[in-house]
């Protein structure tokens, strides 16, 4: 049954990319445990506007856990404590009356802060531009069933393809590595026969782009997997490493 909570929020406020940030402290009452985390922030923002203060900026869109737009560190955990859950799907029943909640943006050199909890994740798009595709023009495709794909391969490819590109893996990693994100796309396209012709150039180019975007190295801590809201497995990182090694050893360049 629904209860109500009184909460104390410590929220990272930063007016712009080059300005100093600080923690703003806010008290909230009568928060229903049935609310989503973002609805709780909506309530806060309505109160802030009512008092003539600037509302807290945060990215969000679908509010059903699939678009990957939302994301914040909640008490030090990317997307909060509920496993395999995006911030928008986190509900207030995970909190206790009287809790203090610390809310921060993703912190990574590759994701500069735009305002408050909003960061710039266009680095992910640039990694994708380096090779996260199969080169096929519209109209060129053969009949769909002329490319049989073993069911297990298709299922594994789908596991990797489920990545929503939210950036929690980077935010959770002490090195701000983008390996889980990059490896998920490399895995999906390597596991499918359609992706094999470009497998070597793809992995080399995507890894180079990842490094150029100032994401750190992977040291197999697996925080990324623990933080991932859609359960992307670190097996993908192992697959990327194998693909990369093979590509570098066998590439003519």
């Amino acid at each position: 049954m629904a209860q109500t909570l009184t909460l104390r929020l410590r929220i990272w406020r930063q007016p712009g990319p080059n300005e100093r940030g600080y923690f703003g402290v806010y008290e909230l009452e009568d928060i229903s445990t049935r609310m989503s985390f973002l609805e709780m922030l909506d309530v806060l923002n309505e109160q802030l506007i009512g008092r003539g203060e600037e509302p807290v900026a945060f990215d969000h869109d679908c509010r059903e856990g699939i678009c990957g737009t939302c994301g914040m560190m909640i008490n030090g955990q990317a997307h909060g404590a509920d496993l395999e859950t995006t911030t928008c799907q986190l509900h207030m029943r995970w909190f206790q009356d009287g809790d203090e909640i610390t809310i921060e943006p993703w912190r990574a050199a590759g994701f500069p802060v735009i305002k408050d909890l909003v960061v710039d994740r266009t680095a992910f798009d640039r990694i994708m531009q380096a090779g996260g595709y199969i080169s096929i023009n519209t109209g060129n495709a053969p009949d769909a069933n002329s490319i049989p794909v073993p069911r297990d391969d298709a299922e594994q490819a789908m596991d990797a393809a489920a990545c929503i590109g939210c950036g929690a893996c980077v935010a959770a990693c002490k090195n701000a590595s983008a390996m889980l994100f990059t490896s998920a796309k490399v895995s999906q396209l390597t596991l499918l026969p359609q992706g094999r012709p470009e497998r070597s150039s793809r992995v080399r180019n995507m890894v180079a782009a990842m490094d150029a975007e100032r994401f750190g190295s992977c040291t197999n801590t697996y925080e990324c997997e623990a933080a991932c809201p859609v359960g992307i497995s670190v097996e993908n990182i192992a697959r990327l490493n194998r693909e990369y090694l093979q590509a570098v050893l066998t590439s003519p360049e």
Binding site: A2, G16, S32, M35, S36, L38, E39, D42, N45, E46, I49, G50, E53, E54, P55, A57, D61, C62, R63, E64, G65, I66, C67, G68, T69, T85, Q89, H91, I114, K115, D120, R121, D125, M128, Q129, A130, G132, Y133, I134, I136, N137, T138, G139, A141, P142, A144, N145, I147, P148, V149, R151, A154, E155, A157, M158, A161, A162, I164, L192, Q194
Partner: protein, 643 residues
């Protein structure tokens, strides 16, 4: 307006037998020489399935594409949230499907308010879409032999739906997005994320550019091109609560309407029967539970009014499986509009369940008993998981609570057969246009239409515009650009200048309540008139009393929302006027005055077998109605029956 003649709209549908129209038309369309394509710039607004596929395909042909979206990345567009699947007439299961049957089902499902020739073309290219997506690496579900799996969806009597678990929209969108990223890398697409289109630049009667506001720094910018392609989705957020993402809006389409593009059938709204009900007045959006759940779930309410027992304590003979009772042939799989209205009717009669009484049960008890929990988990595991995340109830043990919610808008900017609006050079694709779904869209057809328009229609039809019209080079210092820019800036400035007391959120919620109460699942003339009156009053209140904090020269989410709400407050009035004009019930549009004795929709083909396309005359002024007569030569007009 080239397409308006003698007060009637001409869709420029090519002649000849329906199966040959598109082929013939493609031959008759003028071409741009491959070497000349690089001389043309095309603006594409929106990066969902329609915009993403159009941007990638046009860039592959050699055009220079400027791609705009208001999200932080093209990959976030709301097409990503589509769960169930995408239809195609492949007939892989050998169960009797064909292009003709998909065409027929779509026309009938749309309750004879769509344009036959467009629907036929949609069914024709459906197969190419599947081929294209598979080649891109979309991981569709497979059989053990490695071939593609299909399922029956949304009441279709053949298995024609392709799917990628419950994330089909996501996978198709990421396919289009990856094709876009390839063209960005090739230098043929320039990406402009976090930029919102605020107006259309029309030069000598032809769409030649857009005005945008940068959502990060508030800067206004102008872009010019040889064509503008609008792929900006639907307007379900007019109702505040809907299954749409929070940023979905009517602004780009509405601003084009104000510049002269006719708006067609705005009142055609799809209310989806299986959504998670609202839990309180803080509710910010509604979440859809895929329609596929109705394949195994049984919908029921208690027979007793004011029932207080838990669902599992209610014996079989005190349950009313009302869809199975009323529609024995289709049962729980009746089309969305029929299922939604029935749920509302049962709740209005006092049989609703849950804390608000505005919910019905969707029960998997019998399916679990028949197939076992593992089979049900295999089919719907992710949906059950999502339901439990939101409601903290376990649907394997207790029935789900569901209630209808606004989901999709069939109306949109009027387009001809080429997907061109009444402003030459302005093309409208995907949910933003109106043509293919009539008064009701079938399940798994939205993804099909978005990708059909983007991958396989616009690459042909845009060339004809570019080749046949004089398009002198212009740049951003053209007087029309400056004038449009000033208008867009003034509008934003005047919103900031109000300095009142009510928040944007608060006014938007009130607008949503007006729409839901009077223009929702069941509409009547007095309510529609009242709604128009109330919307006018609320619009005045917005312009006198809205409070938008912060400045225009910064990242200001409240200001973005306020601009979109200001347009909804104008558009809502047209929505009500359109619903009032259509004195019949068809598809998702149900007028209480026009129903049969057993409460089914009663169409009026004598008076309303037409598209209602509205012409803007000024804010608060009645719009001028233009009619595009609809003729059904291939699928004879008949009354839908799901009994």
């Amino acid at each position: 307006m080239a397409q308006v003649a003698n007060g009637r709209l001409d869709a420029k549908v090519p002649g000849g037998p329906i199966a040959e129209k598109w082929d013939r038309h493609r031959f008759e369309l003028k071409l741009i020489n491959p070497a000349n394509k690089r001389k043309f710039d095309i603006i594409v607004v929106g990066t969902g399935l329609a915009g993403g596929s159009a941007s990638a395909s046009l860039a592959e042909l050699g055009y220079n594409v400027l791609s705009f979206c208001l999200q932080d990345s093209p990959r976030r567009a709301h097409s990503i949230a589509a769960q169930g699947g995408i239809n195609a007439a492949k007939n892989y299961p050998n169960d009797g499907d064909s292009i003709w049957r998909l065409f027929y089902d779509t026309v009938k499902g749309g309750d004879y308010r769509s344009r036959e020739a467009n629907v036929y073309r949609l069914a024709q290219v459906s197969n190419n879409i599947i081929d294209q997506c598979v080649a891109q690496g979309v991981p569709f579900a497979r059989e053990y032999g490695g071939t593609l799996a299909n399922r029956s969806f949304g009441g279709a009597q053949v298995s024609r739906t392709f799917y990628a678990r419950g994330q089909t929209g996501q996978q198709l969108l990421l396919g289009a997005y990856s094709a876009m990223m390839r063209q960005v890398n090739a230098g043929k697409i320039k990406l402009f994320p976090r930029k919102e289109m605020l107006d259309l630049v029309v030069v000598d009667g032809i769409a030649r550019g857009i005005i945008t506001r940068d959502l990060v720094n508030g800067k206004f910018e102008s872009f010019v091109a040889d064509a503008v392609v609008l792929c900006t989705g639907g307007y379900g957020n007019l109702f505040y609560l809907s299954t749409n993402a929070k940023s979905c809006n009517v602004t780009a389409a509405w601003r084009c309407h104000k510049r002269g593009a006719l708006f067609a059938n705005p009142c055609f709204t799809q209310i989806h029967p299986t959504c998670i009900p609202a839990s309180g007045d803080y509710q910010s959006k509604l979440t859809l539970m895929s329609e596929s759940l109705r394949n195994d779930g049984r919908v029921w309410v208690p027979k007793n009014i004011g029932e207080t027992r838990q669902p599992n304590e209610i014996p079989e003979d005190e349950r009313d499986y009302y869809l199975e009772r009323r529609y024995p042939a289709f049962g729980n799989l009746v089309p969305r509009d029929v299922a939604s209205r029935a749920a509302k009717e049962r709740c209005d009669e006092g049989h609703g369940v849950g804390s608000t009484g505005m919910a019905v049960y969707l029960d998997f008890r019998d399916a679990i008993h028949r197939d076992g929990e593992d089979v049900i988990r295999g089919k719907y595991g992710n949906l059950f998981h999502m339901y439990e995340k939101i409601t903290a109830e376990n649907p394997y043990k207790v029935p789900m609570h569901i209630y209808p919610a606004v989901h999709y808008t069939m109306g949109g900017v009027w387009v001809d057969y080429n997907l061109e609006s009444t402003i030459p050079g302005l093309f409208i694709l995907g949910e933003a246009n109106f043509s293919d779904h009539g008064a009701n869209r079938l399940g798994a057809s939205a993804l099909m239409q978005g990708l059909a328009d983007g991958y396989f229609v616009i690459p042909y039809t845009i060339g004809h515009h570019l080749a046949s019209r004089s398009l002198p080079k212009i740049n951003t210092d053209h007087a029309a650009v400056a004038e449009t820019m000033t208008r867009a800036q003034e509008r934003v400035g005047s919103i900031l200048a109000v300095g009142g007391t009510r928040t944007v959120e608060n006014i938007h919620r009130e607008l949503g309540r007006i729409m839901w109460d009077h223009c929702g699942m069941s509409r009547r003339a007095p309510g529609l008139s009242a709604a128009a009156e109330k919307i006018r009053g609320l619009r005045d209140e917005f312009w006198n009393d809205v409070r938008v904090p912060g400045s225009g020269e910064s990242f200001n989410q409240n200001l973005e929302h306020a601009g979109r709400l200001a347009d909804f407050l104008e558009f809502g009035e047209l929505f009500a006027a359109d619903a009032l004009h259509r004195e019949e019930s068809c598809g998702g549009h149900f007028r209480g005055e026009h129903q049969t004795e057993d409460n089914e929709a009663r169409r009026d083909d004598e008076r309303f077998c037409h598209v209602a396309a509205w012409e803007f005359n000024g804010v608060g002024e009645a719009e001028t109605l233009h009619k595009e007569p609809l003729t059904f030569e291939e699928v004879p007009l008949a009354t839908r029956s799901y009994k």
